[in-house]
Symmetry: C2
Subunit: 386 residues, 2 copies
């Protein structure tokens, strides 16, 4: 297996982008990543996207991507794993370079979510859950995560304030991220008093509907050292695991087994322990999700994710910063792009490229955790500056 | 790059399967492939599917696949490239094994197309074309291929009978395939006199709407020789290329540049010429498609695909048998499964596993060509018995 590095990253300003079609949204990040790497093209392209069919009536982004980025006949392949589509696209691109079939491969991600009316986005997102046993019986994603939150609160005594603190922290981080969708600080009271979505979670516990894209360029390590003038960021670990798609079939409603397993694979491959990692970008689609994720990763003990968050362990100046980008909560969550944007953040932090107000002091090794459904798919990557 | 082989294949009987859900459809082929390989599980799974979201309201097949095959926490990833989704899934699985990350990886494909009413399937399939510039202006896939057919007829003198002969040949082959959807022989007159779909193409020039799945298991060559008691079938070539998604933007409306390029990659990798290949499974979504494909592959000269077909070059007892399985036309075209089913046919022909009435006499090296949209994506693989 060859060593692989990230040599270019790009991302657009996320938000409700009414004037931008999905093809242009995708091309913007693709061209920025090529520019960042200082190259004109790649040998292959993987595009993470959850459901452009339901959101925009357009499948076959594997053709749209190269075509509208001006790099035909480069082959393009769309990869989907619900909200983990971006992480899965990065992993597929990693395999491609690691196999030796190509030296330079792009992983991009995109979702255009605002071109459907009313319940259209909720319906499209619900296709990540089990239609026949969950969705047809009336549940939506906020409902699934609300059940997980209630279970966690009952089992471990996790409090409403601890959930809300995830949003407070991530909005504080996203306030300094120029590409984030919602650059506003929020207080515990604002989170708790916002509109109820699914008890106990209010609007500010939930990640938003977002139009956005992101792209990164992977390269064999040897060639990376020739091409890039920036710090070489090596992919040292990659993991991917599944769990039952139905929440009801799990042993424990509020433990993310797939995240634990994917992280173990990635850490084993890197020859590292979680305490060796400097910071993480994780999948805070809902506030409870970040609490469960930091427990599954071992950043907090099981059942102690809430207190750890409240104590500032995961704050930007804490022992283990989590979601310095603002996370899904503040940066936005264009589902197929999210996992790729995590790699963008890891790369820029490790390079030390960011503005002073959000550059971490210690950012040599970063971990990205991207998750699909209510945790049925988890993808974990570890990047290290070399 | 490690050598990779196919060690197990499985496929269900294709058709209009009203009583079977997409999860069961997928699991049937997955379990058959595991059984054929004589193993219980795999290390990862790729699932080719074009648009389960639009056909069945269910995305996230990467979770459904392992879960309903009983092999959680094996990671699953869905791969989409319109009608080339199956070929792209096989290529992703190939990269995974070639990278050395895993020894045994499955590529499956599935599409459940009959659970939508009336125009639902036509709408879903049209998302493989350019929505904004082609579909919103009224074109459907039969219309796109009809324009390619008219162009080919005007430019090269290809005749209506030559188009129809593709269907006659493939139905004659599929008549002997127990898993084919339409096991009936047809005559030139029956093809020409069937209901008009898009001039000059009638119903019997078009591949059908199908529910179906297929699965194959890839393994590192070294390990394959330990595991399988059957003939080892090595993946000797893999290629993938793109073209503009819009037909209107191509230099030549009736030449499949992406197929030529993907085939060149695969042949170069295998160190072979097209004349070294014994037989091929190709993407005959419409009768004109097979004529254009055999020209792009070099089986016939450009413009001579029609006469070559009429002369029996591509017949099952011809110089270069094409679509011995019956092709998309007779076997059926559950879009995400098609490319994987081509690998099933190649493997079984190379092993010599098939019934006497459809086993090719010379089948040591086979080529599979799978195509998305009106040729915007092409994936080509070459398999050889060792």
């Amino acid at each position: 297996m060859r060593d692989v590095a990230v040599i270019g990253v790009g991302m657009n300003r996320w938000g409700e982008l009414w004037n931008v079609a999905i093809r242009d949204l995708l091309a913007e990040s693709v061209l920025k990543a090529l520019d960042d790497a200082g190259i004109d093209s790649v040998e292959a392209m993987y595009i993470g996207c959850m459901t452009s069919g339901l959101f925009t009536d357009q499948e076959h982004l594997g053709a749209i991507g190269p075509d509208y980025s001006g790099i035909c006949p480069v082959p393009g392949t769309r990869v989907e794993s619900a909200c983990a589509s971006g992480g899965a696209a990065f992993r597929a691109a990693y395999m491609h370079v690691a196999s030796g079939t190509a030296d330079i491969v792009m992983a991009a991600g995109v979702e255009k979510m605002t071109d459907v009316d009313g319940g259209g986005a909720t319906f499209a997102l619900a296709t990540a859950a089990d239609q026949e046993y969950e969705v047809y019986n009336g549940i939506t994603f906020p409902g699934l995560y609300a059940m997980m939150a209630n279970h966690h609160m009952n089992k471990y005594g996790t409090t409403r304030d601890q959930l809300a603190q995830v949003s407070v922290k991530n909005h504080a981080n996203g306030y300094n991220n120029e590409l984030a969708q919602f650059r506003m600080k929020v207080t515990l009271d604002q989170v708790k008093n916002s509109v109820m979505v699914a008890d106990p979670m209010t609007l500010l516990d939930c990640s938003p509907i977002t139009d956005g894209s992101a792209a990164v360029i992977l390269c064999s390590l040897d060639k990376a050292k020739e091409i890039t003038r920036k710090r070489v960021v090596k992919v040292v670990g990659s993991g991917h695991a599944s769990d039952t798609i139905q929440l009801a079939q799990r042993d424990d409603l509020s433990y993310l087994k797939s995240t634990e397993l994917a992280a173990k694979q990635a850490l084993d491959m890197a020859g590292k322990k979680i305490t060796d990692i400097d910071f993480a970008e994780v999948h805070d689609c809902f506030s409870i999700a970040e609490i469960m994720v930091i427990e599954a990763l071992g950043i907090a003990k099981v059942g102690k994710g809430g207190p750890a968050t409240m104590d500032g362990v995961t704050a930007i100046d804490g022992m283990f910063p989590v979601n310095p980008s603002g996370g899904l909560k503040s940066k936005g969550h264009p589902v197929g792009a999210t996992g790729v944007a995590q790699i963008v953040e890891l790369t820029e932090q490790i390079r030390g490229d960011l503005d002073k107000n959000r550059q971490l002091k210690k950012a040599n090794i970063g971990l990205a955790q991207n998750m699909g459904g209510s945790g049925a798919s988890s993808v974990v990557h570890i990047l290290e500056g070399v």
